[in-house]
């Protein structure tokens, strides 16, 4: 069984985290697109902590002695996916950034050419 106090703590911290994230999005400090997994994580946490039967069942399936450990394991796995999705995003953005920098470099060249052309004309 899960300690009742632990359940309360997990539920309350998850709800507070959820509210904080929503508020950051509201203030335009966070992009909803990248926060969705975090919000989902908070919801899953609340459900797992509130309904201890699910955690106990999962612990049984994985042959883990304490249900709490099952919750921790699931948290770890979720964190892995969270961080990996961020790694994917960084990779994508890095590629776009490269294209952007190259574009700027080439544009500067065009501007240089135009300036030279204008001064030569005189």
């Amino acid at each position: 069984m899960i300690n009742f106090q632990l359940q309360i703590i997990l539920v309350i911290t998850s709800i507070i985290t959820f509210i904080v994230i929503i508020n950051l999005i509201r203030k335009y400090n966070l992009e909803l697109r990248y926060s969705l997994l975090w919000l989902f994580f908070c919801i899953v946490n609340v459900i797992l902590a509130a309904f201890s039967k699910i955690a106990i069942m999962i612990a049984g399936l994985l042959s883990i002695k304490e249900p709490v450990n099952a919750i921790f394991l699931l948290s770890f796995i979720f964190q892995f996916f969270l961080i990996f999705s961020l790694t994917l995003t960084i990779s994508r953005i890095s590629n776009k950034f490269t294209h952007l920098v190259q574009e700027v470099g080439l544009l500067k060249k065009e501007v240089e050419k135009l300036q030279n052309f204008n001064s030569v004309e005189r």
Binding site: I25, R26, L32, R33, L36
Partner: protein, 232 residues
């Protein structure tokens, strides 16, 4: 009045032909095609057809591409900007109807709605369920009935051009931008239009992604509704 038609295009080498065809009869409207880093000949064909083409160095999605058009409209001092899809689904013959409420000062944004008179191409069942859902959500939050909240066929005045230039939602921007405007007390009106079936190319949203988008956009709309007036 200077009027600009913003045509976002991603892999629309066939669609642009149709758009050019439809715009033959129309004058008094400038056109800018925003090429969202297409993989096909969209840019070449756009230029061959005589369009003004902006080639983006990276793919931004519909929100980013359309916002580029609004920034262009703002920089070039246009009074009215109209969004027209790059696939030929939107018929420019409705341009006058779309602009009329803006010219008469009755609205800041005018949406061309397929569902006011329910004529013409009505889209798939799944899409219509989604559209009804967003209609309901917007009415719930902002007390305004918008029959076609996902329509990309919209015209707006200079105030909205300026607003959209600085902030415009990214994925599935149409419903979110509507709530954004309503929350800031802008006036929105709808006029009935008939849209054609998609001509060539592929729609950018598959049915599998639809559910993800519905959740995401619902959340975005609800959160936007929580922002106080003036927090643009």
């Amino acid at each position: 009045m200077k009027v600009l038609a913003i045509v976002p295009a991603f892999n629309e080498e066939e669609g642009l032909l149709r758009v050019a065809e439809q715009f033959k009869e129309i004058d008094g409207v400038d056109i800018v095609v925003v090429n969202d880093c297409s993989k096909d000949a969209t840019s070449t064909i756009g230029r061959k057809l005589g369009f003004n083409v902006i080639d983006l160095p990276c793919n931004l999605g519909i929100g980013g591409a359309v916002q580029t058009g609004y920034k262009y409209a703002f920089d070039q001092n246009y009074d009215i900007a109209i969004q027209v899809d790059g696939d030929g689904q939107h018929n420019p013959s409705y341009l006058k109807d779309l602009i009329k409420p803006i010219k008469e000062g009755r609205a800041d944004l005018v949406i061309g709605s397929r569902y006011l008179k329910k004529e013409g191409f009505q889209s798939t069942l799944l899409r219509r369920v989604g559209i009804n859902y967003f209609s309901f959500l917007i009415q719930l939050l902002q007390k305004k009935r918008i029959t076609d909240p996902t329509s990309g066929f919209r015209a707006c005045n200079r105030r909205v051009i300026e607003l959209f230039s600085s902030r415009y939602p990214n994925d599935y921007p149409e419903p979110e931008s509507i709530v954004y405007l309503l929350r800031n007390n802008y006036k929105i009106e709808e006029v009935p239009v008939i849209m054609n079936e998609r001509f060539g190319g592929e729609s950018s949203i598959s049915s599998i992604k639809s559910i993800y988008y519905m959740i995401k956009v619902s959340l975005a709309i609800i959160i936007d509704n929580m922002r106080k007036i003036g927090l643009t």
